[in-house]
């Protein structure tokens, strides 16, 4: 009760004084009923556009006898606002006196006056009643919620127009030593940024919430931050939101705050707050608002014009509501919290006449445009007329849509209309619900002119009776998995013929290899190698065999080199024959000597002094060297 009285009393003096054109002056008092010896506070707030400076002087508070006042404290004020895209700044001062009442009675203080920027500002006179000590109503220290000196928010609603960075705390809320505390930032939390992406100016877009279902409201907010003092927004465009249905929230009115970010004092303001409804599922993008910052501290780009900045994109992950529990007739996008009411009149008609059904669907969300109407034979619902009342209080889209139906009833009798309904998804409860409105019964009397009003079938209805509904689910064939999806189909297809080709090829290759090997075994070279190997092996144990092998090796080597069958030549003439064929004479002599040694060893044996091992080695050496000899005459 006391609080109400105090509030009323304080409000009574919250009257702006029409002092000067550019000055805004307000007067306030903490209490108009005080006890003897108690103190109360008087405050004079002066605001101006700052064009004449902010010098303060000639501060006065005329007091009646029996009252004393302290020297006034001075608290500078500054206010930045962006209204319809135009930024304005106001400066001012708050003067606060502590007045002590020492005498009973009713008094009249003031009016308080001061000069600000060379102009005289005068407040209103303040009536105060001083009562016996203990029955007064001096303000409680530390009380929250009511602050008569906060002129735009006397009841502590938190709507002060002043930038919190400039606002000093109300003296009625401060303890004696509280002035020593550091000033706390009081800008809205949505303006908080941990790190500035640009030290001069930047735009920032946010969206909440960022995971929704199709048709659920999200709110896009775009904030502007200027780090070089006062700015005016130039040519701001609309943020992109192609995949969303948006609601116009009225004219833009931005309130600016001082926001310290990374040691820089930015002027921050919310430019846009758009309630949006996603139109389909997916990761949808919005944002990318562009705006120019114009002001003394904001450099123009090389091409001229204001300093352009654009906001970030924001992503919203949108899904469809779950299939589980989905009621029949649910339309994707019908999301919110709704109730449905309906009125029906008249309740008694003649067959062929119509009734009126007015249904009001109201609730939170983008109220759907269509209701489910009950259907039955003899009842015809025409398209409804629609009226709507949508609002966005506190950024939440809500309202109502009214559907006015005309319903024609053709069959006489008591007709149960059934109910209107709207299935919707409630994102708060994460479940489906159905808003329903029962319509009740209509008594339809027999129409004496029934033949005239009876609906005639359309003469050109070519689809009548084409399809007859089936009463039960019949058997259905088990789908065959395509052969081409089976592992091994393509391999089987190609491997069989190619397998035959490969097998044939492999057999041919094997046969050819075998033949080659056979041919290779019968060749002169192979025979020569075999003879030399045999000569070496037999030299130690079978002199005759070794000699025969050496002779064979030599004849084969001559045939290979000179294409000469040397066995048919007398050994005595062999040397000259070899020379004639182009073999170097030294080589011919060496070969003849080996053959002679072979004869000597064969017929004389060990007594000939020829070592069979040495003979076979000599034969091998000469055969090898002869392969490299150049022939003087082509063989």
């Amino acid at each position: 009760m006391r609080l109400a009285f105090t509030a009323a009393a304080a409000l009574a003096v919250l009257v702006a004084s029409p002092v000067a054109r550019a000055l805004e002056v307000k007067t306030a008092v903490s209490s108009q009923r005080v006890g003897v010896g108690e103190s109360f506070y008087v405050q004079l707030v002066i605001m101006s556009d700052g064009q004449n400076g902010n010098a303060i002087g000639d501060v006065r508070l005329p007091l009646p006898p029996g009252m004393t006042a302290s020297q006034p404290s001075r608290a500078p004020q500054s206010q930045v606002s962006i209204i319809n895209g135009q930024m304005s700044q106001r400066v001012g001062v708050t003067l606060t006196w502590t007045v002590t009442a020492n005498k009973l009675g009713s008094f009249r203080l003031g009016p308080p006056t001061a000069t600000f920027g060379g102009e005289r500002a005068q407040g209103n006179p303040i009536p105060v009643e001083v009562v016996a000590a203990g029955s007064g109503s001096a303000p409680q220290r530390g009380r929250r919620g009511f602050d008569p000196f906060n002129f735009f928010d006397p009841f502590g609603q938190g709507h002060s127009p002043f930038p919190p960075g400039f606002n000093f705390r109300s003296p009625f809320d401060d303890d004696a030593g509280e002035e020593q505390r550091p000033e706390e930032p009081t800008y809205p939390d949505e303006l908080r940024v941990d790190k500035a992406p640009d030290s001069i100016a930047f735009l920032r877009a946010t969206v909440t919430p960022n995971q929704v279902v199709v048709g659920q409201q999200v709110t896009l907010r775009v904030f502007a931050y200027g780090g070089r003092g006062q700015f005016s927004p130039e040519s701001p465009n609309e943020p992109s939101h192609a995949d969303f249905l948006t609601f116009d929230t009225g004219p833009d009115q931005a309130k600016a705050y001082l926001v310290p970010i990374s040691g820089i004092r930015f002027i921050g303001a919310k430019l846009r707050e758009l309630p949006m409804f996603p139109l389909h599922a997916g990761t949808l993008r919005a944002g990318n608002m562009k705006m120019g910052f114009a002001g003394r501290g904001y450099p123009s780009p090389p091409g001229g014009g204001p300093l352009l900045r654009e906001s970030n994109w924001v992503d919203v992950v949108v899904s469809e509501p779950p299939l589980r529990g989905r009621p029949p007739g649910y339309k994707i996008g019908d999301v919110g919290e709704y109730k449905l009411e309906a009125t029906v009149e008249p309740r008694t008609i003649v067959a062929g006449e119509s009734i009126s059904v007015v249904a009001k669907l109201s609730g939170i969300g983008n109220v759907p445009f269509k209701l489910q109407t009950p259907e039955s034979h003899g009842v015809e619902w025409l398209e409804p007329a629609l009226a709507e009342k949508m609002e966005v209080p506190n950024g939440v889209v809500q309202g109502s849509r009214t559907f006015s139906y005309v319903v024609r009833l053709t069959d006489p009798g008591k007709v149960d209309l059934g109910e209107l309904s709207l299935p919707y998804f409630d994102p708060k409860r994460h479940e489906y619900a159905v808003a329903r409105a029962k319509l009740g019964e209509i008594e339809v009397k027999v129409n004496p002119n029934a033949d005239k009003t009876k609906l005639q079938p359309k003469p050109s209805d070519r689809l009548a009776g084409v399809l007859q509904a089936r009463d039960a689910l019949g058997p259905q064939a088990v789908p065959l998995r395509p052969l081409s999806d089976r592992t091994g189909f393509w391999a089987t297809l190609l491997l069989a013929p190619f397998g035959v080709v490969f097998a044939g090829g492999a057999l041919s290759f094997a046969a050819r290899t075998r033949e080659k090997l056979r041919e290779r075994g019968a060749s002169l070279g192979a025979q020569l190698e075999a003879a030399l190997r045999e000569a070496r092996e037999l030299a130690a144990r079978d002199t005759q065999g070794s000699v025969a092998a050496v002779e064979r090796a030599l004849f084969l080597a001559i045939e290979l080199k000179l294409n000469l069958k040397a066995r048919a030549v007398l050994k005595s003439e062999l040397g000259s024959a070899l020379i004639e064929r182009g073999l170097p004479s030294a080589r011919a002599d060496a070969l003849s000597r080996i053959l002679q040694d072979c004869d000597a060893l064969r017929f004389v044996g060990a007594g000939s002094g020829i070592d069979p091992v040495e003979l076979s080695q000599r034969a091998s050496k000469n055969v090898a060297e002869m392969r490299g000899d150049k022939l003087s005459v082509p063989s």
């Binding site: 084409v466 509904a469 089936r470 039960a472 689910l473 259905q476 064939a477 089987t492 080709v501």
Partner: protein, 275 residues
Amino acid sequence: MRRLLFVLLLSLLTLAALPALAAPSESERDFAAASEALKRGAYTEAIDTLELLADRGFVHPDASFNRAVAYVERARSSAANPGDLGRAAAALSEVLLLRPSDEQAELGLSRIRAEISRRHAREGTAPVMARDSLGRAATSLFDENVWAWLALVGSLLLTVGLGLRRFVQLTSAALAGAIGIGLGAVLLLAGAGLTAGARHFRLTSSPAVIVADEARLLDEAGKPLPQKRGSADSMTVPEGASVYVLERRPTLFRVAWGSSEGWLSPGQVRILATR
């Protein structure tokens, strides 16, 4: 005594399980509810129920058939919605995909398409017919498995022919082998090619039907495509026409209509359910 208790327990369990075995599934109940709604003329209710069944993944030719019935009946009523006949055509096309021998569905589909054409003609817009591309037309002559079996037979003939030619020295075997090789190679190439083509179309596109009154083909940016041969008019796909969806994006589907390709809004196209 124990044996008697066991028998009693078993009997009780069997009795308890019987109703569960006999109870219809949720899908069967919904189908029955939709049929009931159809009988009392609540076509929208029947459509909602059958559409919800389809959304839940229930695929059955008779459910699709009744959905077509509901759309046709609504199209005939005063509560007709644009695109009802297209949706009926889509439902019947679905029936024919699931049960190709359904004569009633085939007849109904042809009547519905004729009715759509008649309505377009009455409004002065001649329906534009589009034939499938040659490749798609060839592969769709028979089922994919028919082509696969043809390829397998060709492979077998080719294998036998090659074997005879390679491993049997008789003149008659060589002659038979040559015939086998020739015939088998042709069958293998044709069968494998058509199988591969049918598989490619099956994996890269989905059959669909236009369910909008008129669907203008768009380019990737969403602008209407110009008519071929330099005509200024845009290309419009008629309601009920069969198309193939080649690519799906949240706001646009890329479709092939005859030999033309373009983009359509997802709401204009109904993709047919297959198993």
